[in-house]
């Protein structure tokens, strides 16, 4: 029988307020295998941990139960404490009497009774715990960054600067991402391209960085330190080694009617194209859907004009398989579709645009060469209305429940830029709240109002109605004056909610990384591990984790890089010892377990088994501990119960069930 010590934490008053900790101690002490039980205000504190060490020394404990907060919070803390005290760390179990008990039950009797039962379940489990010893696995010293926007570029540069190889996979023909589409950045109003392109160039030139553009991650297997990734390099139809980037092909291309993705569909591009002038790599791709050669077999003008002979219509997709130790996800965002927002007339009027489209309109390289004009008739607008929170902070299914975070600031930026360049244009902003928490942010917003005379109205726009004269009638409520107002506008700009890029969903599945209801990747801990995925070896950079502006994105990208570097700096990782294990005497060798193993961790060998005197060659399952991640799928698939999971064994779970139901 184990000699178990039970340590009940008050967590200040977090637990003690609704759980009678003394009673829990008293009841736990009565359990047959418990030889020590005590409570303490903060078990996780140094003094609390010292109490554990002391009890181990004095009472010769072999197992420890800590009744405290969630094991997701402090299991590691107490395991380390046990190890320091000379007990195998896996002889510790946590009874979660805070999150699962004291915080949700107001009645002290109820809370105490439940805490006692949870403690008993943990005691019952520890009774059956056995010391476990982690194994080791190697680390491939190369990182993969998925997404080539500012987040991905920054993470890649930081990792590469630390001396590790990095590959960037970007699905579009160029790195640069959303930031490349922006005109100016808040709150400094410096030119986005001016600060981004040097980073792009630096990444491209870095000897430790390889960039796969027009490429997508197709398959991911393996685990922290040892991922194997298949990257699909889509056929560019251009031999990148020959292309000089002269651009003649794009000029001569006969198919020029394709909508430019880079310009958000506001302008056109040729079928052979680079998305923008500063694209990296400066190698075009042929859009096979638009290309006359691919559609009809005729044309081929680009091949004719290409002096380098770089055009290759036969090029095929290529699969590159590479090993990585760490993966940084930087898949970024897109704006939501506005199909369901008929009231804003986005689909009806060309003069209703999104803010991101306005960036292109304002940009010198954009569809209007930087002139502010109505896209419907090219006329100079007299009045522009900005609508905030389109799809953000939305309670219905059309939009997103969260705040997109960047809109208040870029709207102020847009308003200010317009007023600065075209003082004759009247600017009105409808807002729910103006949120400006950031360095120099509120100052920036106030300048828009005070210095530039932007008219901010607290209220929601109910309808934008295109008028026969081409103007737009904006109906809104003014909440401060408590009245309905109607305004005539020439342009309406919608601060459209942002959402994670749709590619993140299948990617999360491949990564086995968890994702929240809004498709943002979940962090391992919202406060303490904000740049790590719960899946080991996966790091989160930029908006894929949640809405962010550029400085935050860059900061997080750096943080993710540091976490990745920390991983790559290790030669070996200790593996989770809670892995599956086959009992050779019970194994049928039927392969059912291998069929459900997501990691290919189970193989079979024929070996001589001595089953209580019967010696015979048997086909038995063997688990590779480095590959096994301990999900337990095999344990249930196994009909004979030969497969069991260490740390969550059948008998342990049954003991918990019994303790709860007794």
């Amino acid at each position: 029988m184990q000699r178990i010590g039970v340590f009940v934490c008050h967590c200040g008053s977090n637990i003690a307020a609704t759980v009678d900790v003394k009673k829990v101690v008293e009841m736990a002490a009565r359990e047959p295998s418990v030889v020590h039980a005590e409570d303490y205000p903060y078990m996780c504190s140094e003094a609390g941990q010292a109490k554990i060490a002391q009890a181990v020394a004095e009472k010769g404990l072999t197992g420890i139960v800590v009744c405290s907060c969630s094991p997701r919070m402090h299991e590691a803390t107490f395991r380390k404490a046990a190890e320091r005290a000379g007990i195998n760390p896996f002889m510790v179990e946590i009874a979660n009497i805070r999150e699962h008990c004291s915080w949700i039950h107001k009645n002290i009797e109820e809370g105490t009774e439940k805490a006692i039962i949870l403690a008993r379940a943990a005691i019952a489990k520890v009774n059956l715990n056995a010391p476990l010893f982690p194994g080791e696995s190697r680390v491939t010293k190369r990182a993969l960054v998925i997404g080539g926007g500012i987040a991905g570029i920054q993470s890649a540069l930081d990792i590469a600067d630390a001396g590790y190889e990095v590959d960037i996979v970007e699905k579009t023909p160029s790195i640069g991402g959303r930031m490349a589409q922006l005109d100016k950045t808040f709150p400094t109003l410096d030119c986005s391209a001016c600060i981004l392109t040097p980073k792009m160039v630096e990444a491209a030139a870095h000897e430790k960085i390889r960039i796969y553009t027009y490429s997508e991650v197709e398959k991911i297997s393996g685990f922290v330190g040892d991922f194997t990734v298949d990257i699909r390099k889509k056929a560019r139809s251009i031999d990148a080694t020959k292309c000089t980037g002269c651009g003649v092909c794009q000029e001569k291309c006969h198919s020029k009617k394709s909508l430019s993705e880079f310009n958000r569909g506001l302008g056109t591009r040729s079928a052979i194209y680079t998305p923008f002038a500063q694209a990296i790599p400066n190698v075009p791709v042929i859009d096979r859907e638009a290309c006359i050669k691919f559609k009809t077999g005729k044309c081929g003008v680009c091949a004719k004009v290409c002096a380098a002979g770089a055009i290759d219509y036969e090029q095929k997709d290529e699969i590159i398989t590479e090993k990585y130790g760490a993966i940084v996800v930087a898949t970024g965002f897109d704006t939501i579709k506005l199909d369901k927002y008929d009231e804003y007339a986005y689909n009806q009027s060309k003069d209703v645009i999104t803010s991101l489209e306005l960036e292109r309109v304002m940009n010198a390289a954009g569809p209007t060469k930087g002139h502010l004009e109505r896209l419907s008739d090219g006329k100079h607008p007299e009045h522009i209305v900005f609508v905030q929170c389109v799809g953000s902070r939305c309670s219905d299914e059309r939009g997103k429940p969260y705040c997109s975070k960047i809109c208040c600031m870029y709207t102020a930026k847009h308003a200010m830029l317009i007023r600065d360049k075209y003082p004759d244009v009247k600017v009105t902003v409808f807002y729910i709240d103006v949120r400006t928490p950031g360095k120099n942010f509120d100052e920036f917003y106030r300048r828009a109002v005070e210095e530039y005379g932007v008219n901010y109205i607290k209220g929601q726009v109910g309808k934008v109605a295109p008028q026969p004269d081409g103007s737009l009638l904006v109906q809104a409520s003014d909440l401060l004056d408590n009245k309905q107002i109607k305004l005539k506008a020439d342009m309406v700009v919608l601060a459209t909610a942002i959402e994670p890029d749709p590619s993140v969903r299948p990617l999360a599945t491949m990564l086995t990384a968890s994702i929240d209801t809004n498709n943002f990747l979940t962090e391992a801990h919202p406060k303490l591990r904000p740049v790590e995925s719960p899946t080991a070896g996966i790091f989160l950079s930029g908006v894929c984790q949640g809405p962010k502006d550029i400085p935050e994105t860059v900061a997080q990208a750096g943080a993710a890089a540091v976490k990745a570097i920390g991983l790559l700096a290790k030669d070996k990782l200790t593996t989770n010892p809670c892995t599956a294990k086959a009992d050779e005497l019970l194994c049928n060798g039927c392969s059912t377990c291998a069929n459900v193993c997501p990691y290919g961790a189970i193989s079979y060998e024929t070996k001589l088994i001595n089953d209580h005197g019967i010696r015979e060659d048997r086909r038995v399952a063997v688990v590779n501990n480095a590959l096994c991640q301990g999900c337990g799928a095999c344990t249930v698939a196994c009909p004979s119960g030969a497969m069991d999971l260490q740390g969550f064994s059948n008998r342990q779970i049954i003991a918990e069930v019994d303790a709860i139901c007794r």
């Binding site: 009565r30 047959p32 005197g613 007794r662």
Partner: protein
């Protein structure tokens, strides 16, 4: 003692009358199968089926029964032994073969050290035997000297004759039951006794025509261990055995049990349950099993019935020829095939 008579129509009244006083265990049909069970209002009593699936031994030696309960409270353990039965009951409708089976169990459980659970049930049970009228092809009780038309060892014997049952108390307990039955019984007339004799003669005559009528136990019995144990015949006989416990559990004489603990959450309940020597964990010990092959387990069962038991019990076989194993073995193995296989092999040798 006096021969009495009860009509078939009066039987339900008899059951109700007995059941009002003490529990009554008799063949009841449930979900298409007839087994001994406690009578209750509306029970489908089935005296027609020749052989219940399980024998009647449950009445005295149930398939499982609690022995004692350990209850833990804090760090203390209290042990409460199961109470011995102190309630009288009637076991009704047992056949001659099963009755011999009880005699075999008595040898085991009533000799020192006496099994108190069994003894208490024996002391409190009144046994009403039902004589056989129409034996089936799998019957071979005669091979063990049993007369199915005159069950021995019961407190009351009843015989089906026409629309009635003849009733005769054999013991004081039986007399008491006769008193309890009271006006439901009438005195048998001379022609009833004649009819009974005719019926018995008819049945005995059938016994001689059964396929196993010529079954001989020559060569088996006390002291035959050496010549049977090492016979090569076992090697081929056991091959189709599935190692299930059917033969054991339907057998009226198999008496092996296992003792197991059941965790209740607040302690354990120690119970015993029938075990089968056919099971791979039978008499399993820490070092493993003393019979590692199915051949050994198979051999054990028949050696026990036909050699070891008679050796230790004045020649009494622990098979009663009820033929349940013949009817029920999923692999069509049975004790008759064993006996015949040896007969054939031994004859072959002498030729």
């Amino acid at each position: 003692m006096a021969m009495m008579k009860i009509t078939r129509e009066a039987m339900p009244a008899l059951y109700a009358r007995i059941a009002a006083e003490q529990s009554l265990i008799l063949p009841v049909k449930t979900a298409g199968q007839t087994n001994f069970a406690a009578w209750e209002e509306g029970a489908d009593v089935d005296l027609y089926t020749l052989k219940t699936v399980k024998s009647a031994k449950d009445a005295f030696f149930p398939q499982s029964e609690n022995l004692y309960t350990c209850k833990t409270e804090d760090k203390k353990i209290t042990v409460t032994p199961e109470k011995l039965t102190d309630e009288h009951f009637v076991l009704f409708g047992i056949k001659a073969c099963d009755l011999r089976g009880i005699e075999v169990l008595d040898k085991v459980f009533l000799s020192e050290p006496i099994d108190t659970f069994y003894a208490a049930r024996r002391a409190h049970g009144t046994v009403v035997a039902l004589a056989c009228a129409a034996p089936s092809e799998s019957c071979f009780c005669h091979a063990f000297g049993i007369d199915p038309t005159a069950p021995a060892g019961a407190d009351v014997v009843i015989w089906p004759v026409g629309d009635s049952f003849m009733w005769q108390a054999q013991t004081e307990k039986g007399e008491a039951l006769t008193v309890l039955a009271g006006d439901l019984l009438t005195a048998a007339a001379a022609e009833d006794e004649t009819a009974l004799e005719n019926a018995r003669t008819f049945t005995k005559n059938i016994m001689t025509k059964l396929p196993y009528a010529d079954l001989s136990l020559e060569g088996w019995g006390a002291g035959k261990t050496d010549e049977k144990f090492n016979s090569p015949v076992w090697d081929t006989l056991y091959k189709s055995c599935l190692a299930c416990g059917t033969c054991t559990f339907v057998c009226p004489t198999c008496q092996c049990y296992d003792i197991k603990d059941y965790t209740t959450g607040n302690g354990v309940q120690r119970f015993r349950c029938w075990d089968s020597c056919m099971y791979s964990d039978f008499t399993m010990m820490a070092h493993g099993n003393n019979r590692t092959s199915q051949m050994q387990r198979f051999r054990q069962r028949f050696m026990h019935k036909l050699v070891y038991f008679p050796t230790n019990n004045d020649g009494m076989f622990s098979c009663v020829g009820c033929g349940r194993c013949v009817d029920k073995c999923p692999a069509s193995l049975n004790i008759v095939k064993v006996i015949r296989a040896f007969e054939k092999a031994e004859k072959g040798e002498t030729k």
